[in-house]
Amino acid sequence: MPSMTHIQHLTIPDEPVALYLHVPFCRSICTYCAFNTYADSDDLYQPYIDALCMELKILGQSRPNTQLKTIFFGGGTPSVLTPQQFEQIFEAINRAFETSLLVETTLESNPNDLSEPYLRDLRAVGFDRISIGVQSANQSELDLYGRRHNFDEAVSSFAAARRAGFDNINLDLIYGAPDQPLSAWETTLTRVLDLNPEHFSLYNLELKGGTDITKRVETGTLPSPDDDLAADMYDLATDMLGQHDYDQYEISNWSKPGRQSEHNLQYWRNLPYLGLGPGAHGFANGIRYTVVRLPKRYIDRLTSPEKQYAYPHTPATAKAVPVDYATDMSETIMMGMRMLHEGINRERFLARFGVDMVDHFSEIIEKHRAYGLLAVDDQRVHLTQQGRFLSNAVIRDFI
């Protein structure tokens, strides 16, 4: 086995990149949200879009002919933008990048924004996948989360998306709220399964610092969420979604066959992605970088830029760190472990790091195989069914 000190090179595959565009605006801020997003900033939408188009242009110039694999508008609430604004952005994308290999273009959305005409326009400008923030079928939870819609509106928006021709729809759901009983979660699952979407993302509610809900838990007006109950909910979801032929291909994601999120797979395979827009993160050309967080600063930075920039830098880059061999290896494992079937592909790992993962980490792998958390075969190293629950315990040993 070659020793680590002899291998300093970093071979990140030169594959098509994923493109993430951050839309840092919402009509209102949900009580659990700690993302970089701002309400009451409508006057910034257009300047932001102009800046975003400039950022695209700069990246197109610094590395011409970059192939895109996926496009993903996240936020925030990207569905606050108009079809015309999206049109402007897509024009900039098409000028800056090659799109012949593009396989997926996703919009994250809020049910309130999804009228049928709007959805038809989205299809027309180029979206082929939509992700709807449904979160729950129970009004009390929607109220707790500070969502603008009720469940009926979410159902209507889903139907409208279908009518508009979206055949690849994801629903986002949250479980593990303070006071949420298992039965309430079962209700949500039953009702969303009726809709028969292609994809589900299920998130255990996290108490992020500074959010409304966290403050309420800290001051005692809400009880702390129960970890064991959340584990039961996760179990229940695994059973129910499994019975409906959804495949849990990642720790928090389920899909119908062939309907995995290509964009997110790019992250989990630790392949390159460009992040644009305020507060976005990117990983390209062996560099992890962040973009300035404040929309105003972002806009300022991209107003009349002067010089050439080295890909993937732009005037809006806040921080850029080259990834070294050891970091790249641990990140590849940390992300790859999340893919429950695919896991970490041994051949790709060998090509990237010059060592066979199973040799290199034989002791750790043996330990977790003994615990029944990890499985190994000729092609891959991946978590077992039981390992899904305790993935951190496994990953920690590798990093």
């Binding site: 998130y203 996760y234 720790i251 992250y267 940390m334 992300m335 629950f389 920690r396 040993d397």
Partner: protein, 601 residues
């Protein structure tokens, strides 16, 4: 140097009454230290001392003072440790002096250690100069405190100095009074040399440096010398005075304070309290009062990572060079593998050693709960001493267990008599007498097992009296009681490092508390972990740490990667500080849980 122009004195005070600050002022006033070299609390040279504001080792400094009578005096200030764990060292430092400045805080008044120190000073026949300090504080009551001092030592209140060492008020009178009231040394200048070792430290080039007060005769650089208790002989590498840095001189004469660099390689050969004389034509009788410091409190100290065992041993060896009262021997624990059983003068001493190991030697260590030295009388009539519950023989082989008892003095406003008495009785203590000092303050004399004293007694005393009570204690005698070993089983394995010796009547209660506490402290593992407390074969309490169901990051997308990885790395670091006991990760706090079983009752 004629003895008539020498004054040797100490400053004695309760913790925080301003001893070190006053010492700093005196050094400034006599220009012993240039202003630019002045560091607050100059005499406290260990970082830890300065940080905690407590003097750990005695230290000395020589000052030249031009008095108002126009004459210049050599004044030696000998600093004393301010904590009850080091009472013996205080008494040796005082023996090196003719006088003592008794510093009392103008708002706190006389406290337990003030009294102990006064008694120690009186035992040594010292001239006591009381000083009321911190008179500029808003809560100061200088007149009342001066009256207290008058009641205590009989010096008229109006003659007592009132100063603020911090702001300098009244400080210029202090040395004047020292010159006037402290008697000059009166040793036999021409007799056989006798010098008292009142402190020491180890220097890697000059060997053990003995801090000495020459009582009789002269020590000169070319003399072969001898320590009278340990019989160690040596030719000094250097002798000198503290200016305050070590300054070599040719000789030290009767009455003087200085140092002798002995060249000896271990501090065991040159102990505090011993007498240095000349190797030939030496004194016949040593100076009185030598005792070997005896450790009272014992604990296991283990490296968190077994690979650090040798580093820990080296560190203890080095610490012992400067701390003769520190004793240790290798110990093996089933739970914690290889470590050391370490003996300390008291809990404070233990804390200091622990902190120094972590800070100065950068070791991750784990300390078990402290124990005392028990005497076990076996059925076959033999007697053994054990300093760890794990060493206790099988129940059937034991005839009786004896434990050390302490004499305790608590100095308190009388309003707290009731709660203090409850506390003492709960700790198996017994009342001896209660002495009224005046209408509001009392000294309560108690007896109590040391094992109870070292388990949070002081903290509890402070909390029930809002900090007003102060405590002092001395070893009394060994006494039999109905003691049993309380075992703790984690994952069905007895954990020797968690065993404790308790009174049979307390076993059930303590067992339950301990199990509950451990259940909180031991994090959830990959499997359920039963925790049990048992006396002999009988399990008296049990609880389960549930298996960890879930340890997952809900989502991890492009933006999250660096942050999520940091989070996992942080968790990993946290786990490193735990000890693997069998297959269970046990945090350091679990081993100290035994100390806080009475928290909430």
């Amino acid at each position: 140097m004629t003895q008539s122009h020498i004054r040797n004195f100490s400053i004695i005070a309760h913790v925080d009454h301003g001893k070190s600050t006053l010492a700093d002022r005196l050094l400034e006033q006599t220009e012993t230290v240039a202003d630019r070299e002045m560091q607050a609390q100059l005499l406290d040279s260990m970082d830890l001392e300065r940080e905690r504001g407590v003097t750990i080792k005695a230290s000395a400094v020589r000052m030249n003072y031009k008095a108002r009578d126009g004459q210049t005096y050599v004044i030696n200030l000998i600093d004393t440790p301010g904590h009850v764990d080091f009472t013996y060292e205080v008494s040796r430092a005082l023996q090196a002096c003719e006088g003592a400045l008794l510093v009392v805080d103008a708002s706190q008044g006389v406290e337990a250690q003030t009294l102990t120190n006064v008694y120690l000073a009186l035992e040594q026949d010292l001239e006591i100069i009381p000083v009321v300090n911190k008179i500029d504080l808003p809560a100061a009551q200088p007149d009342e405190i001066a009256q207290e001092l008058e009641d205590l030592i009989g010096i008229p209140a109006e003659n007592i100095l009132r100063i603020s060492a911090k702001s300098g008020i009244g400080v210029s009178d202090v040395l004047e009074q020292v010159v006037r009231d402290v008697p000059p040394p009166s040793g036999d200048a021409d007799g056989p040399a006798r010098a008292l070792v009142f402190d020491s430290h180890y220097d890697q080039y000059k060997g053990v440096i003995a801090y000495v007060r020459v009582i009789d005769g002269t020590l000169s650089k070319r003399d072969m010398m001898r320590l009278m208790a340990t019989e160690a002989k040596f030719e000094p590498v250097e002798i000198g005075v503290f200016s305050p840095i070590m300054f070599p001189v040719e000789k030290l004469e009767a009455g003087e304070v200085g140092y002798v660099a002995t060249g000896l390689k271990t501090i065991k050969e040159c102990r505090v309290g011993d007498t240095i004389t000349l190797a030939t034509k030496g004194a016949e009788k040593p100076l009185p009062g030598y005792e070997q410091a005896k450790p009272m409190v014992f604990a296991g100290i283990y490296p968190t990572d077994n690979d650090d065992y040798h580093d820990l041993r080296d560190a203890l060896e080095k610490l012992q060079l400067n701390d003769a009262s520190l004793v240790y021997e290798p110990e093996t624990s089933q739970a914690l593998n290889f470590g050391f059983r370490v003996g300390f003068l008291g809990l404070f001493h233990m804390e200091i050693v622990q902190e120094r190991l972590e800070r100065e030697y950068d070791l991750d260590i784990l300390a078990t709960a402290p124990s005392v030295k028990y005497e076990v009388v076996k059925k076959d009539g033999s007697r053994i001493f054990i300093d760890s519950p794990a060493q206790l023989p099988d129940e059937n082989a034991i005839d009786e267990i004896r434990e050390p008892w302490m004499k305790i003095q608590i100095y308190t406003p009388q309003t707290y008599i009731g709660p203090i008495m409850d506390l003492v009785i709960k700790k198996r203590g017994e009342v001896v007498t209660t002495e009224y000092l005046d209408a509001t303050r009392v000294i309560m004399h108690y007896r109590m097992p040391l094992a109870e004293l070292i388990v949070d007694f002081y903290d509890r005393l402070k909390s029930i009296t809002q900090g007003y009570a102060s405590l002092d204690y001395q070893i009394d005698e060994y006494q039999t009681d109905d003691l049993v070993k309380l075992d703790v089983l984690v994952n069905n394995e007895p954990i020797d490092a968690l065993a404790m010796i308790v009174h049979r009547d307390h076993a059930y209660h303590k067992g339950q508390k301990l199990v509950t506490k451990l259940k909180e402290l031991i994090p959830r593992q990959m499997f359920a972990v039963p925790i049990q407390a048992a006396v002999g074969k009988r399990v008296i309490s049990r609880a389960n740490v549930k298996a960890m169901r879930k340890d997952v990051l809900a989502k991890c997308y492009g933006g999250d990667i660096t942050r999520k990885k940091k989070l996992l790395e942080k968790q990993k670091k946290g786990k490193k500080r735990m000890k693997m006991v069998g297959s269970v990760e046990v945090p350091q706090e679990a081993f100290m849980a035994l100390l806080s079983l009475d928290d909430d009752d």
